[in-house]
Amino acid sequence: MKKIVVIGAGIAGLEVSKQLLQANLPVTLIEQSSKIGGNIKNYAYLFPDFYNAEDLLNSYQYIITDPNLQLLLNAHVSKIDFSKKIYNVITKDGITIPADAIVIATGYNTFDARLKEEFGYGIYDNVITSVELEQMFKKQEIITPSGKVPERIGFIHCVGSRDAKVSNTYCSRLCCITAIKQAIETKKLLPLVEIFCFYIDLRMYGLLFEDLYLSAQRDYNIQFVRGRLSEASEMIDKKIQIKAEDTLIGRPLQMSADMIVLMVGMEASDFSKQFKYHNDLNVNEHGFFDPINPHNLRNLTAKEGVFLAGTSIGPMSVGETIDHARGTALSVLSYIKSN
């Protein structure tokens, strides 16, 4: 019986596993944390329709009990041995798992906002990330870290994205719509709060994203300032002073806010970074895995029998990740059949 190893039990890894189990193939699913779900566990609701993220994750719970699935939690893959025809996936604890096919579904990390020191994350109390705001939505309560119900919040776009100073020159593309989603959710909880989004370009690439942008302006009175945050500083009352240029009027702008939310971008996972200087798998200049081509071979690596799923190849929304993972499952199935 052919054996498939899926690395990463985020939604990409779960979807690939689900599809392969349905085809009666045995799957070993390796997850580094103690729970399945990956990054989707950070989110309360998903754009653009405010779908409950937990419901989506729960729809995968049933596969855990599938007798064909071997789930390894708290397992870190330290090495993949490509020297024999049947590859070996080796974990830090020394477990060796033979694999006829390997699916890399190792997802992404969110950008470490402390690297943008001038934005004050980790230095000033009232600077939080979009991931931390999402935790507040889960509790349905928005309070600034200094314990105040905010009257004004600034959303800062492109933190760790489109920024040569932190070596991430690509656009994470999901943060724009996430900011708008989060601004609306914040307004629903605190109707009196003032919200300002500081952006360079608003990339509403999805069919329904522009509608949500319109709704943010029309129904929730969310303000947009075209200018990137240059620096943030803390005022004596713990408010954050925002310094940017209002580029449309062409003058520097200063604004105090009770809290600023940094829209952190998506970065390559530590797993893909470790392959940067590895001859067997291609990692591009942004640290993500490189598929053979980005058109009709988006799930395949140059290495035979090694497949890619989800955000291991670059920023993707939840829906796109699931679609991509299904494509990967299909590629794995045809590979297993032809061998």
Partner: protein, 114 residues
């Protein structure tokens, strides 16, 4: 018709077909990073001169690109060359070098005219 000079609206719009782009091309040649500005405004927001005068370092690029070079020399006198713009630029544009280059080229340009 001299009385109707106010009807000549050539300064109200940018005539792209008649632009003077020599200075721009010269500057780009010497500092190519100037080409890839996305007008995010970080430079202007952090600018030491811009916080005390009407100087807007981001607009230098636009003025040059649209051929509005008459006002440029006067405008650049406000820059103190502190380099904060270069420090905050997310596109890694060497703005300080751009300013120096424009100043130098304006000077050369003037000498040719003399």
């Amino acid at each position: 018709m001299g009385d109707l000079d106010f009807l000549k609206v050539k300064h109200l719009h940018i005539d792209y077909d008649k632009l003077e782009l020599d200075l721009l091309n010269k500057v780009l040649e010497e500092e190519p990073s100037f080409q890839w500005c996305i007008s995010c405004g970080c430079c202007t927001a952090s600018c030491s001169a811009g916080n005390h005068t009407t100087f807007n370092v981001r607009r230098i690029s636009l003025l040059l690109r649209r051929g509005e070079i008459e006002s440029l020399e006067k405008e650049l006198e406000k820059c103190m060359l502190c380099g904060k713009c270069t420090l905050v630029c997310p596109r890694d544009i060497q703005l300080r070098n751009v300013v120096m280059n424009i100043k130098r080229n304006i000077l050369k340009y003037k000498m040719i005219l003399l």
